[in-house]
Amino acid sequence: MDKVFASPKAALEGVIRDGMTVAVGGFGLCGIPEQLILALRDSGATGLTAVSNNAGVDDWGLGLLLQTRQIRKMVSSYVGENAEFERQFMSGELELEFTPQGTLAERMRAGGAGIPAFFTKTGVGTVVAEGKPHMEFDGETYVMERSIKADVSLVKAWRADPSGNLVFRRTARNFNPMAATCGAVTIAEVEELVPLGSLDPDHIHTPGIFVQRIVVTTSEKRIEQRTVSKG
């Protein structure tokens, strides 16, 4: 079965529907599957639940799908870079589930690993723990968090081989490996497709079993905070 698709549009075909849950890799604008997000916008799918650490910025990343009102609900840890997000949330147009960043990563990891829920100290005594089961372990209080499974996961990798093995680059890895595991269908946008057998098996970050579709794209890789030293 060929996992390699000719374009982002082709890679999304047949798996996108209204009201679905989409997990998206990336931290800020770093390591986001930017061309797949553009294709998801162009698909016109609406009522989406987007699971992503951030919500992009107003004119890039998931911010594009907020502008077009295709997202009904976001599950995120930090959305501070997005004015349109804030506006839609304050006016009640957008549902938001704030999840601490580590809990979000673990919820996606657990979802991909067949673990329906887990306990963590993070958030105990705060609003994120309200209404959730608590349990004492070794004299400390923990809160139960449910795992996340997505209908489709969109991830960004540096290199892939045709079997779907992925290698990420630097801090662009972030949430991508967990997003890749928790999707019923995972689609990877990659910078380079290399021949089967050419990736060192010891250096593969995400094994191909987690990846159903691959598309090679040219990324813009926008920078949010360009900070330099004079050297």
């Binding site: 601490p100 100290k121 993070t122 105990v124 991508n176 920078i223 030293s229």
Partner: protein, 218 residues
Amino acid sequence: MPLDRNQLAKRAARELKDGFYVNLGIGIPTLVANYVPAGMTVWLQSENGLLGMGPFPTEDKVDPDLINAGKQTVTGVPGHSFFSSADSFGMIRGGHIDLAILGAMEVDEQGDLANWMIPGKLVKGMGGAMDLVAGVKRRIVVMEHCNKKGESKFIPRCTLPLTGKSCVDMLITDLAVFEKRGGCFMLTEVAPGHSVEDVLSKTTAKVDVAPKVATIDA
């Protein structure tokens, strides 16, 4: 004079120890990296997936794939490593990070911390702050003592949504240093030119005063 941002960072840097793995929050905590004493090795962890964070890159070394948790372009020091968000928060939640230095909107006398949300006004999110205060071995808050209206930010009971309960081990403000000892905060240092009475008059939290209060070496 109250301490300025750099003096605050310099005072916080005195809490670093050789070999520490440290997570620095956004804002003043980030400046602590500039005051790591010479000869001391401190590994800076950036929760987006970098251990061994270095300074900002020169123009020719800017890489969009290499950023810190503040989304700023950075570099790695020799020996740095990259990892996923799950591994990163495994370090944080698993108690492997020695010290976290964070900013705050409010701290109260129980050591509760609020730094992520103002209902109806500000919706940004907690990011990794709740994980850091729940999992890191020692938590130091660095903040201005009073808000823009001149009201104490170190108060009897937090009014804003909490980031964590009873999680602040040390509070460094532009006026004073408070250490949590046996469930209660103790005033241990004051900024140059400020008296204990002056600090207490600007503090609504109930605190003990150390037998000997030092002046911060700014």
